[in-house]
Structures are given as C-alpha cells and as structure tokens.
C-alpha cells in the first residue's frame, strides 16, 4: 500500500491529491482500481491527466512476469558456487555455497559454527579476492583468528592485509539494529561496496538466533513478525545481489532428546540448505567434528562428513557416525 503523495509521479500535485482524497482515494492501489471516467466526473480533474498518471503509476508499481527460460538463463549467468575451503564440507554442500541462497549452520556451543564462518570468509577474501560482509551479533568475531588462518594460507604479509581488508564486519546486538543494518545494506551498502572493483559475494550473520530467540514465545506477539522480516531481508539481499548468505543458529532438543536447529518450524523453511554440526564424543583429538546435512534441495539428506577444525586444508572422514545418524533418524 503506497500512499499517494506529491512527487511520486509527474502530474501529481497538491490539488490533485486533495481532489482524490475527497473521494476517499489515498493509496496507489485505490487509484488504480478506480475507473478513470467515473473519477473524472466526480472530481474536477481532466480525464487525460488521470489516464496519464494511471499509466505511469502502473508502470512504476506493478510486477512484471518473467518467462521461465529467461529466468533460467539469468540463473546460469549469475549464480556462483563459493568453496568453503574444506573439501568435506564442500562435498556435503554439493561443491560449496550457492549465491542467491541462504545456507544455515546449526550446532551446540563449541561445535564450530563460528570457525566455519571464519574459514569461508577467509577463503572468499583470499582465494576468490571478493568482499565479504560479516554481521556479528555475539561478539565472536576475532580478527586475530582470521589472521591466523590467513597466515597458514600464505606467508606474504601484504596478501594477508589485503584479504583482511576485504572482510567487512558489522556489529549489531538486537533484532531492530539487525533489521536496520540489513535494510541499509540492501538500499545502498552493497552497491557502495561493489564500487571500485571488488564485488560482494557473501554475507554472514553469526548468529541469527541470538537476536531472535529472546523475542519469540510467551506473550510476545511481535516475534514471528520480526523473524519473517529478517528472513525476507536476507532472501531479498541474496536474490537481488546474487550473494551467498550463511547464517548460524543454535540447537534445541526435541521430544526424544535429539538435537534439532532452533527458532522453530517457521524458520526451518527459510534457509535452502541446513547443516548440523556436532562434536564427536570420545574422539582422540578434541577438534574433530561431524557435519550432517538436514535439509537440501540438491542432495539426499542425512549425509555426514567428518572434518577437523584445526586445519582447513585437511579432511578426516569418519565412517562410524554416518550409520549412527541414519539409525537415529529412521526411528519414528
């Protein structure tokens, strides 16, 4: 619902609006759904002017259908797949993070979500030389760790500094600031960052549950609306700017004591791909983790890969956990 106001289109001035308001027409929708002939008779406005304004408004505010073939062509040319830097994770995600989509990492505290985000950021800024936006809501962003990861990739100081400059960090701590931040990125932030060569290829939000979980539940009636607004902003950013969006989420236990990602059923429809990270109980090294694919539109679910948090170039496969996870999930 867009209000009719001076200046949204040439030909609309104060008297025009006053005349329309006397007929109880306040928004563009009301105006466009009226018959111009009748309107010309009721108000003292010329038919020609009304039709001209109507045409301009329709052109400005309607959505135009796109053919499937065009959409497919566009998708082929604009989608990129960003490697996470870890071959096992890439295998799980069908070669990496896809731009234009939201991918979610869920896990209990200390399971490695932030580390995976760091690794992706470092990989994109160093390997692919693209800009990354990192929205930190928990204070977990540690530039020192990014530097450590870069140092293990290249001993060249200049390259490290350049890569660090391509990672842009925004720190927000509540849901309204997060929404302000995302809306600002969508309206001018991302375009500004693309000026000067580097284009933005990824946006990370660590974590989205930290700001939303306190708003959901109980007698609060705004939580769902805010969750959907955040989801909407992320999807629009991903789609309009061809960016890969990576979000992290916490986990809760369901009725049977199994781990599942937080924020409930409504949020579960938002990301296209969801991965659950877990520690391995009783492993010799404490840095081994397993990643389970819980939702994907490309691969069979419940694929499991093991990986080591220490070294991003190494991968370790564990064959036991795969069977265990499948058994657990096949229980009704």
């Amino acid at each position: 619902m867009v209000i009719l106001r001076e200046g949204i289109c040439p030909g609309i001035n104060e008297e025009f609006i006053k005349a329309l308001q006397s007929e109880d027409i306040k928004t563009v929708e009301d105006f466009v759904s009226c018959n111009p002939e009748e309107l010309a008779q009721k108000c003292s406005l010329s038919y020609k002017a009304l039709v001209a304004v109507r045409r301009v408004l329709l052109a400005q505010y309607t959505a135009f259908p796109v053919s499937g073939a065009d959409l497919y062509e566009e998708l082929l040319s604009s989608t990129a797949i960003l490697s996470t830097g870890n071959p096992s994770l890439d295998k799980l995600l069908d070669s990496g993070l896809y731009t234009g989509e939201i991918t979610e990492l869920a896990g209990s505290p200390g399971s490695g979500k932030t580390q995976v985000c760091f690794s992706v950021a470092v990989n994109i800024s160093h390997q692919l030389k693209q800009t990354v936006f990192y929205i930190d809501t928990k204070g977990g962003m540690c530039a020192n760790r990014l530097l450590q990861m870069l140092q293990s990739k290249t001993p060249n100081m200049e390259e490290q500094m350049e890569a660090l400059q391509k990672i842009k960090v925004l720190r927000v701590f509540d849901v309204f600031s997060l929404l302000a931040c995302l809306q600002n990125l969508r309206s001018n932030g991302l375009q500004k960052a693309s000026v000067g060569g580097g284009s933005v290829k990824a946006l990370m939000v660590d974590s989205v549950s930290a700001v939303l979980s306190s708003m959901l539940g109980g007698k609060q009636n705004e939580g769902m609306s805010l969750l959907m607004q955040v989801a909407g902003e992320l999807k629009m950013i991903a789609r309009d700017f061809s960016i890969a969006v990576l979000v992290t989420n916490h986990v809760t236990k369901d009725g049977n004591g199994h781990l599942k990602a937080g924020l409930g059923q409504s949020w579960s429809h938002v990301p296209r791909t969801r991965v659950l990270l877990q520690r391995i109980e009783g492993a010799e090294t404490s840095s081994l983790r397993t990643a389970t694919l819980t939702k994907s539109s490309r691969q069979a679910c419940h694929l499991v890969e093991g990986f080591d948090l220490c070294h991003w170039s190494e991968e370790r496969r564990t064959s036991i956990s795969g069977k265990r996870k499948l058994e657990e999930r096949s229980k009704p």
Partner: protein, 354 residues
C-alpha cells in the same frame, strides 16, 4: 534511511495502525507533524510524539554508525591489539586463553562449588588494575556479587601479593562494588533487580570510563530458584546475554560471568554440565569450565572463537590464583568436559594454603 515501518522498535499496536494508514517506510513518516500523524493513523498524541522522537533519534550519528558503518577486519585487528587482555597470574591459563581474559568479550566461568570461580574473579579484579608500565591495563573493576561470597580481606591479600609481584606500592585498590538490592527484597525482586542493574550499567560505564572489567558472580544464582516459567527464564537470559555483549563491545570492558553446575542424567549415567540450560551455552563468547580431577583442579577452555580447546592445571594459594607446581603427571584428559567429577563439597581453605 530506508527502514520499513514494521522493522522500527515501536509497540506492535502502534505499528499496526501506521501500516493500516498506508505508511510503508520511515521516510514517509519523517516529515509529518504530531497532530497530522495523530489524525491519519488514529494513534494518540503521545504515541505520535514518541514515534517522531524515535525516528529523529534514529537519524543520530552514533546510532546510524553502529548499524551502517562497517569495520574492515584489518581495523578490527588493530582494535583488538589495542584493547589487550587481563592476566590471571596463572601462566598456563593465560597461554590457553591467548594472553588472558580478553577485553571486549564475555567470558563465562563454570564450576562446582569450591573449585575456585570466585577466587579467579577476585584475582581478575585485582589484575585489571596492574599499571600499564607493568604490562597490565591500569583499569578499574566493577564486581557485582549476587551470592555474598565476596570477601574484602581475601581481595586485600591477593592485592598485596600482586603488588609485591610488581614491586610497587599501590595506595588504594580502587574497587567499586555494588551490593544488589536483593538482600532486602523477596525472591521475585531479586531477578528484577539484577535485570535493572544490567540496564543501568551503560550509563554507569559512561560515567566511569576507566572501568575495564565487570564481574557478575554469579549469574546463575538469581535465575535458578523459584522460576516457574522456564521458557520465560530462557528468554530473559538471552536478552541479558545480548545486553552484556553490547556493553562489552561498546564500552571496551571484559565481562566475566560465573555459572554453577547441574547434573544431567542420560542413559542411566549422570554428568555435570553448566547450569541455566542449553541455550545459555551460546550466550558467552568464551566458556571456561573449572573442575576437579581427584585432588587436582583443572580448567578447560570449552568454547572460544580464537583459541583451541585446552585443559590446564591451576591451584589456589595464599597469594591467589596461580600455576600448579610442576610435577610428573599423566597427560591431562582432553575431553575433560564429559568426565564426571566427584561431588566434592567446598574444601576448607586451610587445605589449599600449603
């Protein structure tokens, strides 16, 4: 700004009326006068004034900066190096933490009774005041005690030992302490007064910019008994966690919280885990778990964005929190968290002063 009306921090009823009147973005509202807004949206005069006030505040430089300006990771690196960390006087723990308790982040210390959480907190409160010339931060500490375990005499002993360590005489310890109002009020108010306290902290910290450490000992105590609605507790805790990390970041302070342990029974086995639930585990940036192994005290770094997991041994002496004496011992357990530690009651301090 291109903020949409549903995303503004206003009461839901006001927002519904604004949207029904056709306002979509914040820029639609900015040029309106209160009376005009009142008539068009059907909200009361006070609500209209509030809405316009909020929009004007939102356009203020420092609010905008947080949401719109980004730092590059390089700038952040310089900032982190400038902020530094607070040493614990236990070199093994300092190494595990990457120099000490980091300023600008929240650290949670969990442990069973008597293992040394309050000792560590008091040690940190002393250590934050080590002058810059000795490699410290030269800041002040704010100690919020909810359990009544803060002993001035003990802190004085620790401070003396620290001073001797630095071979310099400090005239006052410069500790600021707030006793929460809970000693007078009933259970309900205990929780409320703690939450109010956290909302008052930003102003307090703006007035006292030299404070570099805020200790809340313990965060678990007010939330653990007599809370009927557990989901409400979880929400309150999450909100509190976000407030604290915002405080830590904006005022460059290290926030240290202590937590208690609870028993989780699964598959017929019991295990000690940190209290306050699963989602509280995500709240702090770093988590340190102190536990017993026989007669030895161990500290495990369970969760950290920049450091690897490690378990180190420490001891509590007359001088305070220190390294354990070197002795031939077997390799410490790395999956220390899952090993159940015995339910030791609080050891009398005499035993440890050896």
């Amino acid at each position: 700004m291109h903020r949409t009306v549903p995303s503004l921090p206003l009461a839901p009823s006001v927002k519904v009326k604004l949207i029904n009147a056709g306002f979509q973005v914040a820029s639609d509202l900015i040029d309106m006068r209160p009376l005009q807004l009142c008539k068009e949206a059907g909200i009361s005069q006070e609500e209209a004034v509030e809405v316009l006030q909020m929009l004007r505040d939102d356009g203020q430089p420092h609010q905008q900066r947080a949401a719109t300006e980004s730092l590059t990771a390089l700038d952040l690196l310089h900032q982190e190096q400038a902020l530094g960390s607070i040493v614990t006087f236990c070199s093994a723990l300092d190494d595990a933490l990457g120099g000490g308790v980091p300023v600008g982040k929240t650290t949670e210390i969990c442990g069973s009774p008597g293992v040394g959480k309050t000792q560590l907190c008091m040690q940190l409160a002393v250590d934050v005041q080590i002058p810059v010339c000795f490699g410290g931060l030269g800041g002040k500490a704010l100690y919020i005690d909810t359990e009544g375990s803060f002993l001035v005499q003990r802190v004085a002993d620790m401070a003396e030992a620290a001073v001797q360590h630095c071979t310099l005489l400090a005239e006052d310890t410069g500790l600021i302490q707030l006793y929460p109002f809970e000693f007078i009020y009933e259970t309900q108010n205990k929780i409320l007064s703690n939450i109010f306290l956290v909302y008052l902290l930003p102003d307090f910290l703006s007035e006292h910019p030299e404070v570099r450490l805020v200790v809340i000992d313990s965060i678990a105590f007010p939330f653990r008994h007599d809370f009927e609605d557990l989901s409400q507790r979880t929400r309150l805790l999450n909100g509190l966690a976000q407030q604290l990390i915002q405080l830590a970041t904006q005022h460059s302070v290290a926030v240290v919280l202590t937590n208690q342990m609870t028993t989780r029974v699964s598959n017929g086995q019991s295990k000690l885990v940190p209290a306050l639930g699963e989602s509280w585990g995500h709240a702090a940036t770093q988590r340190l778990i102190l536990h017993w192994e026989g007669l030895r005290r161990l500290a495990s770094l369970y969760k950290s964005p920049s450091q690897m997991e490690a378990t180190i041994q420490y001891q509590i002496t007359v001088q305070g929190f220190r390294d354990a004496p070197d002795e031939p011992r077997p390799t410490p357990a790395t999956s220390a968290v899952s090993s159940p530690s015995g339910n030791h009651s609080k050891h009398p301090r005499m035993e440890d002063r050896s």
